[in-house]
């Protein structure tokens, strides 16, 4: 249903008057297919390009190269109204994703109003209906975001995303800004809504425990590329890429008595404006061999799993 082909997004960053322009390769060749009804978890560290990719799939950032197709249609040629009916976002921080000067009713009604063809009474009815579905009482409709708690705000954001009944929702760290107890409420709500409305999710997160719980398939992103992509079961049971292993090892589950693992990645930090030659992960890879410095790994597909590592060949 979603088909991403060699999507690339580069940003030109000017650092100073006399220094050379730096090119930030935020998304550097990502390809995947996602079937209807699936949940693709995208995990990676900050700066790996996962949010940029999310915005490309939302149609907010045109790709520098490559194509993003939904049901065989190129996102780039869709009208903004058609696109809105197809894909909607839920962002991380419900404090900045809701306009502080608008009432909840206006915020949730915006996608309907933008369609332009619906009578006001019908818009209101649909918005109120969706607010009830995400568990907000009618009285909330006339409030401003500042009068709501973090969890309630995120419910408003979800209601806005679903009011047009889109087929795909891009959730960009939807629970990272929330407290633990509220996080569980929102995750459960997203799961319920997916079943009821038959939604497809792109679920971007740095929290692997959460991704493991919600995703049907998982892609691990490093410096703009998917270094491993497999079903959630396969990826968590048998991680193949050294980076995936490091990420999994660094998850601190709430189980006392287990020591804190040595992730073994060293203290170099990935910089998307300065991507290493060869395998982009080699400076941090605990298993790197000489070849990794010079030879760029190509994605290998086996048993429904794609891995980008020379050691996997």
């Amino acid at each position: 249903m979603i088909e991403v082909r060699e999507a690339v997004r580069h940003f030109a960053g000017r650092t100073g008057l006399f220094s050379a322009d730096r090119v930030v390769r935020a998304v550097d060749g990502v390809s995947f297919n996602l079937e209807s009804g699936g949940v693709l978890g995208i995990v990676g560290e900050s700066g790996c390009g996962k949010s940029t990719l999310g915005r490309m799939i939302l149609g907010l950032l045109p790709p520098s190269a490559g194509k993003i197709l939904v049901d065989g249609q190129d996102l780039g040629v869709l009208d903004r109204r058609e696109r809105a009916r197809l894909i909607q976002p839920v962002f991380q921080d419900p404090f900045s994703s809701l306009n502080p000067r608008q009432r909840v009713r206006e915020i949730v009604g915006l996608p309907l109003a933008a369609q332009g063809a619906l009578p006001a009474a019908k818009q209101r009815e649909l918005a109120m209906d969706m607010l009830a579905r995400v568990g907000l009482p009618d009285a909330m409709a006339d409030r401003f975001p500042a009068q709501l708690s973090g969890g309630q705000r995120q419910r408003v954001a979800i209601a806005r995303a679903l009011v047009l009944r889109p087929r795909i929702v891009v959730c960009d760290e939807p629970t990272s800004a929330l407290d633990v107890s509220v996080q569980a409420q929102i995750l459960n709500l997203l799961a319920d809504l997916r079943k009821e409305l038959g939604l497809t999710y792109i679920f971007i997160s740095h929290n692997l425990a959460v991704v493991e719980h919600v995703a049907t398939e998982v892609a691990v992103m490093y410096l703009g590329r998917f270094v491993e992509h497999a079903t959630a079961d396969a990826l968590f049971a048998d991680p193949r890429h050294p980076y995936t292993r490091a990420l999994l090892a660094s998850v601190l589950t709430a189980e006392p008595g287990i020591p804190i693992p040595d992730v073994g990645l060293g203290d170099t930090y990935p910089d998307p404006a300065n991507i290493p030659s060869g395998c982009r992960f080699h400076p941090r890879c605990p298993m790197a061999i000489d070849r990794c410095r010079s030879e760029t790994p190509i994605p290998r597909s086996r048993d429904g799993r794609v891995t980008e590592c020379l050691l996997e060949a």
Binding site: R55, L58, G59, L60, R80, R81, R83, A84, R85, I87, Q88, P89, F91, Q92, D93, S96, S97, L98, N99, P100, R101, Q102, L110, P111, A113, A114, Q115, A157, R160, L164
Partner: protein
Amino acid sequence: MTARSISTGLGLFIVGAIVLIALGAGLLAPHDPFTQDLMYRMVPPRWMDGGTSLHLLGTDQLGRDYLSRLIYGARISLLIGSLTVVTSGLIGTTLGITGGYFGGRIDDAVMFAITCRLAIPLILVALTVVALVGSSLTVVVLTLGLLLWERFAVVARTTTMQVRNLDYIAAARAAGASTAHILIKEILPNILTHLIVVATLEMALAILLEAALSFLGLGVPPPLPSWGLMIAEGKDYMFFSPWVIMVPGIALFVLVFGINLLGDGLRDLLGVSQRR
């Protein structure tokens, strides 16, 4: 009560009083501001030697009642101040939001326009334009309005750039909202408080500039009673009758002072921190 809230209250009181006076000029003014009475020329104010209760603030060189002219002059000052701010606010805000939101080449163009505007000597250009086109209220308002927009543009541009990257703008775009909707409904309300503060400062500036233009004989045409014009007309007599320029001068000071106090107060009240 803090010192800040006292000064805001004072500003509000001054501006409010002058606005009321200007609105009720027809009721408040004891005489017609245009009626000349050459028998009573240069009558000093009531409290000075030779003053009369008929003309509380005295009369000018043509025997017109000074208090009445002052009251009607408040109309002109406020009218010019507010119309100029509306004009320059529209121009500056439009440019600033456009540049701040779209960025890139468009923003470069806006920045270039701002830089050019800053390089223009205000008074000289205003004088030249009025001298060429001829002076009238409309010409003064348009000239000042077309010149005073740069602070609106700068503030609108920076605040828009801050708001532009917030997620609710991305959410509105993803919701299929048009660019016009995003600029007017999503961005403008969130930068409006900053613009209101700029508006007060610009209004004070516009009133002072009008006075300067009128003083140089290129503001509102006589016999309209502008405060600047009153100072200009009185300047030949100021050595012997200093009150002819003191009265409109003090009025001008009080109004501009009040607007500035109000602007500073609003800035705190609306939580706007602005770098100047």
